[in-house]
């Protein structure tokens, strides 16, 4: 693991920062510490929020303080490195039909590919859940292949349906609510990310690997129907 910087946040949190820019070693360190904290939570720990290069520990100030937690993290970091977790493999179904993919043609134009090649490149990507943010279950998946990486649009579009599959730069995500987005919409997924199972209310956890599986319109309709049942 890399050696982190510790930054106190208000009266109840500690930010553990492994790097200032996104890198694989920094993110691997975040995931390893996240796992170590889950296995052996220090006194007063309330919750842990992993992100790309840092991890936030929220604690009860009546039970602990920044220095005590810093020392607890230091001793976890000194423990022999465990094998970095590989994450569980998850599959997300996606239908790329034109009405579900209003920006597919623009992505094709911007990248000099045809639409089928954009879809194939998207399906070929190996994605990993780096963090959640913005909205419940909104998982940032890194791993969009370089040949279809496009910047954000200049202005966000409002009212984008839940289940939309979006890309911007190296990141991909599947929306969980109707909301505005400036990312390119290249498909729609019927896969339920917010689930009704109280034991696992979200499809993914940070560190999971994700592959997309193409489905046709009939498959989309079947999956939607099954999700509603």
């Amino acid at each position: 693991m890399l050696t982190p910087r510790f930054i106190a946040v208000a009266d109840h949190a500690l930010l553990v920062e492994f790097a200032s820019e996104i890198s694989d070693p920094a993110n691997a360190s975040v995931r390893a510490l996240d796992r170590a904290l889950a296995a052996d939570p220090p006194r007063g720990l309330r919750e842990v929020v992993p992100a790309y290069v840092n991890l936030l520990i929220d604690f009860d100030p009546l039970e602990s303080d920044h220095k005590t937690l810093e020392m607890a993290v230091q001793s976890l970091l000194k423990a022999p490195a465990t094998v970095p977790p590989t994450g569980t493999q998850r599959t997300v179904e996606v239908c790329y039909d034109a009405d579900f993919a209003p920006d597919l043609a623009a992505v094709a134009t911007a990248t000099g590919l045809d639409e089928a090649a954009v879809v194939n490149a998207h399906l070929a990507g190996d994605y990993r859940v780096f963090m959640f943010g913005f909205a419940p279950g909104y998982a940032y998946l890194a791993g969009v292949p370089p040949q279809i990486q496009v910047p954000r649009k200049a202005a966000p579009l409002r009212g984008i349906a839940a289940g939309s599959v979006l890309i911007a730069g190296p990141q991909c995500l599947v929306t969980t609510l109707t909301m505005p987005t400036g990312w390119s919409i290249i498909g729609r997924s019927p896969t339920q990310i917010l689930r009704t199972d109280p034991a696992r209310p979200f499809l993914f956890d940070v560190g999971d690997r994700v592959t997309f599986k193409r489905i046709d319109r009939a498959g989309f309709a079947r999956a939607e129907k099954a999700a509603r049942a």
Binding site: I7, D11, E47, A51, V53, L56, F134, M179
Partner: protein, 313 residues
Amino acid sequence: MTEARFRVIATGPHVSVQDAGRFGQMRFGVPASGPMDRTAHAIANRAVARPPEAAGIEVSRGGLVLECLSGAVSLAVTGGGFIVESGEARAGSWVRTTIRAGQRLTIRPGHWGSWAYLAFAGALVSPHWLGHAATHSMSGLGGGKLTVGQEILVTGARLLGDEAKIPCPVFARPLHRVHVVMGPQDRFFDSATQARFLHEPFSLTDAYDRMGVRLKGPPLMPVGALSIPSEPILRGSVQVAGDGVATILLADHQTTGGYPKIATILSADLDRLVQLRPRDRLRFCAVSAAEAVARARLHAARIRPYFSAIGPR
């Protein structure tokens, strides 16, 4: 079982069911939500002998009118200095009263405060999400926002006697000078900007909802912060956008984001800050991390005797 049933006659925006909050889900993009003023919410519950985390109704400055359709139940209203009309009686908030079938309960803004808390002496029946009735405003998940015509059911409804005032403690009143710990990204602000943040007044704007409140004040231009990776955000983060405008993130905050946070407000001060209104003045005062923890402990020690002193005997 004794029930009381209500219909929503009128409701402002941002009026929602809130329990103490849905903790432990930030890693999945879910903030705790729960009451904007957690202290006032807990006091309202205590005043009607309910557990501090029980679900109640958070009332915005848009106000709320309920009609009691059947049954009778005692209730408490705390939070800002709102006006409470229950049947023929009219009182300020920080009151415990009783409402019966055929009567109306009106809660509307008074002289101060942005949020009022209505707690019933009984269980408020509402949808739950991830085990909690707290409403996440962006998605509407949880107990939900109130809508006109909606019916509300309170089970196990109890009557707690005559109307009684609830003392409004100093620690539940609005605060114009809040304590912060600088950072976690204060390094993106030069020393002159940090000094402006701590020495010049700000005010709240109308861009104020459960997600956050935008401030008006001196520009706080970040330096070289355009490429910071998205990272965790907390309730109380003072986030500065590229245009130098600060926003305080509140109960329904995003859980991660890429704007630099110049400072983070102490949790005990945050419950008091949210009772300010747009155009009210606000100043920031920096303390060390150790002093912040000491203040959290002092706050807890102040609250304890108050809680044991109130509530029906």
